[in-house]
């Protein structure tokens, strides 16, 4: 039996638990990436000659990728508390910083839907998209829900709730760093369960609003769960990558062990599978019943070049990561795990592109400018995301220092539990 010596909770603060200057570097790189990405997206978007319509689609795509990560983080934090989890304490603070960027992302999303709303959403009164007669009737029936003012209010509401939850958990967790007060953990245990209820409702409605209403006559009850599955798997991957990066820079070298990575790998696997299950359910039921009012959504995505994108999604987002992460050894090897953790968010991006872009143009899959505009926009929001996470982390520990379950997390051993 391996006699491994584990770090003691009180030793964690000496395990390079503060960014100590590194945050400046991350913020700098983030700012440069954001400016370059925005400039690229604007330039390419303007070159498409459609009055920045493509740019706003790319904006939404970029925002939603990082929003997925932040929402996945918020879910992860609350589910840890609700389940009285212990193994994950050492990586929880990173998730808390990710979730705390939600207000910043909210500003970007709000700017997108307010300024670019008429370009993005064909239900918008200012939209220039010519709707068919039946679509006008259907949209007319839901005008109480899909109108610019109420829409904007809802978006503000979602982000207010998420921002509140994220900062509530981050704040209490930080307070515990200095006081070590156990009642804070108890309080968060109690709030996490209702927090999850609110989270589920807001995430679903936000998915309906931001993504589903891009095709305003289309509806699918599972859509919120579909978006949720993508959020969690890409968050797990980004968390994994961040931890690997930080350890590579000398941070938390002994606090986070292969055991934690193994569990993150398992969760990446589980939510990849879950996404496959949800995506199959939605597709199969639509395909089987074959009713025009919902099948058209998939028809758009099986014609005009989009069918290749659909295959890419099936193989890249489900089959490859599923087969890859089945093996325990590949999950317990930092190199192969890094590969998987890079792969999954890339294909979550492919998934978002698949959901969003056919609404921009069902025919224009071949236009490479759209793809690059979306990439630039993603770099832009990514820069903002990491720069704000680093700014929030300035001067604070990147691991909970006095969490009552920190010891359990440090000693955690996956195989012998």
């Amino acid at each position: 039996m391996a006699h491994q010596t584990y770090l003691k909770p009180e030793q964690v603060k000496d395990d390079k638990a503060f960014l100590g200057g590194k945050e400046g570097q991350i913020m700098g790189i983030g700012a440069v990436a954001a400016v370059a990405g925005l400039a690229g997206a604007l330039g390419l978007g303007a070159s498409m000659g459609d009055g920045l319509r493509g740019f706003w689609f790319a904006w939404l795509q970029g925002c939603f990728l990082w929003l997925s990560v932040a929402l996945g983080a918020l879910f992860f934090i609350m589910v840890i508390y609700a389940a009285r989890g212990g193994w994950n304490v050492v990586v929880r603070r990173i998730a808390e910083y990710f979730a705390a960027t939600l207000p910043v992302l909210g500003v970007l999303v709000l700017a997108g839907v307010v300024i670019g709303g008429a370009q993005l959403y064909s239900w918008h009164p200012g939209s220039s998209v010519e709707l068919e007669h039946h679509a006008q009737i259907l949209i007319g029936r839901k005008e109480a829900w899909l109108n610019p003012a109420f829409f904007a209010i809802r978006i503000v509401g979602y982000f207010a709730i998420w921002g509140f939850l994220a900062w509530y958990f981050l704040g209490n967790s930080l307070k515990q760093d200095s006081t070590g007060d156990v009642t804070l953990t108890k309080r968060m245990w109690t709030t996490s369960a209702p927090g999850l209820v609110v989270f589920a409702l807001t995430l679903t409605l936000a998915a309906f609003d931001l993504l589903m209403s891009l095709a305003p006559t289309w509806f699918s009850t599972i859509f919120g769960v579909y978006v949720f599955a993508g959020c969690v798997s890409s968050f797990m991957s980004i968390l994994c990558l961040t931890a690997i990066y930080l350890q590579g820079q000398g941070f938390l070298r002994r606090s986070i062990t292969m055991e934690h990575y193994h569990d993150l790998g398992k969760l990446m696997f589980a939510f990849t599978f879950f996404w496959g299950y949800i995506a199959f359910s939605q597709y199969m039921l639509t395909w089987y019943a074959n009713m025009p009012e919902e099948t058209f959504w998939y028809m758009f995505r099986q014609e005009g070049g989009w069918e290749n994108w659909s295959w890419l999604l099936l193989i890249g987002k489900f089959i490859i990561p599923f087969a890859f992460l089945l093996n325990r050894r590949l999950k317990r090897n930092k190199l192969t795990l890094t590969f998987a953790a890079l792969w999954i968010p890339v294909f979550h991006w492919v998934d978002l592109y698949y959901v969003i872009m056919p609404n921009y143009s069902p025919e224009k899959i071949t236009d490479g400018r759209m793809l690059f505009t979306a990439i630039c926009a993603t770099v832009f929001v990514g820069g903002v995301f990491f720069a704000s996470a680093a700014a929030i982390a300035r001067g604070k520990a990147i691991i909970p220092l006095k969490d009552p379950r920190l010891g359990e997390s440090l000693r955690f051993d996956n195989i012998k539990v």
Binding site: M1, F280, M284, W287, Y288, N290
Partner: protein, 195 residues
């Protein structure tokens, strides 16, 4: 069932009058899992081959202490699962699209989305059956006779006692060395298995 004697010195005494009992090995008893793990490490390092540890639940770390290798069962199960998957696909194609094609609700003869549930179920079915019977096969179960069953004390191996058995059918078995090894394990009891 032969009654086993309580200490190795008395082992020459016949358990059944008139018949010389066959000598089968040693059984060392422990009271807790920690003692068992330490003893197992010792036996592993002694190079003895035909020995085993017995416990009423899988003791964590004991497999490492015994130097056991990872079982290959998972790979066989992977093969079985893929077989089930392939067979299900082939079966559905052959039955519905090739041998007796039939138009149903306007779907193509060979409708992959509609075939996925059965493909999945057959993957799990084949894997599950392989897992269960593979476990029995690799463990050589059922096996209703085993030297350790001669011991009355061994009945507690499924409740609250921990044992190490050193068996005599090891080709390199040396009775004297085995006795020394058995006694060096600091068990709460050492017993000769015979029957």
């Amino acid at each position: 069932m032969a009654t086993a004697s309580k200490n190795p010195q008395a082992s020459t005494a016949a358990a059944v009058p008139g018949a010389e009992p066959q000598y089968l090995g040693y059984l060392v008893e422990f009271e807790n899992p920690t003692a068992l793990v330490h003893a197992a490490e010792k036996v592993r390092d002694s190079g003895y081959k035909n020995w085993d540890a017995h416990c009423p639940f899988p003791v964590h770390g004991l497999d490492h202490a015994m130097g056991l290798r990872e079982p290959i069962l998972p790979w066989i199960v992977l093969g079985a699962g893929l077989t089930g998957l392939g067979l299900a696909l082939l079966m559905q194609w052959w039955m519905n699209a090739y041998d007796y094609p039939l138009i149903v609700s306007g779907k193509p003869f060979w409708s992959i989305p509609a075939n996925i549930p059965v493909m999945f179920e057959m993957t799990v079915l084949f894997s599950g059956i392989t897992l269960f019977f593979g476990m029995l096969f690799f463990n050589r179960l059922p096996q209703y006779y085993h030297p350790v069953f001669h011991s009355e004390r061994f009945k507690r191996a499924t409740t609250d006692r921990f044992f190490i058995s050193l068996l005599a059918d090891d080709p390199k078995f040396n009775r004297e060395k085995a006795r020394q090894l058995a006694e060096s394990l600091h068990g709460s009891n050492v017993e000769v298995l015979e029957g």
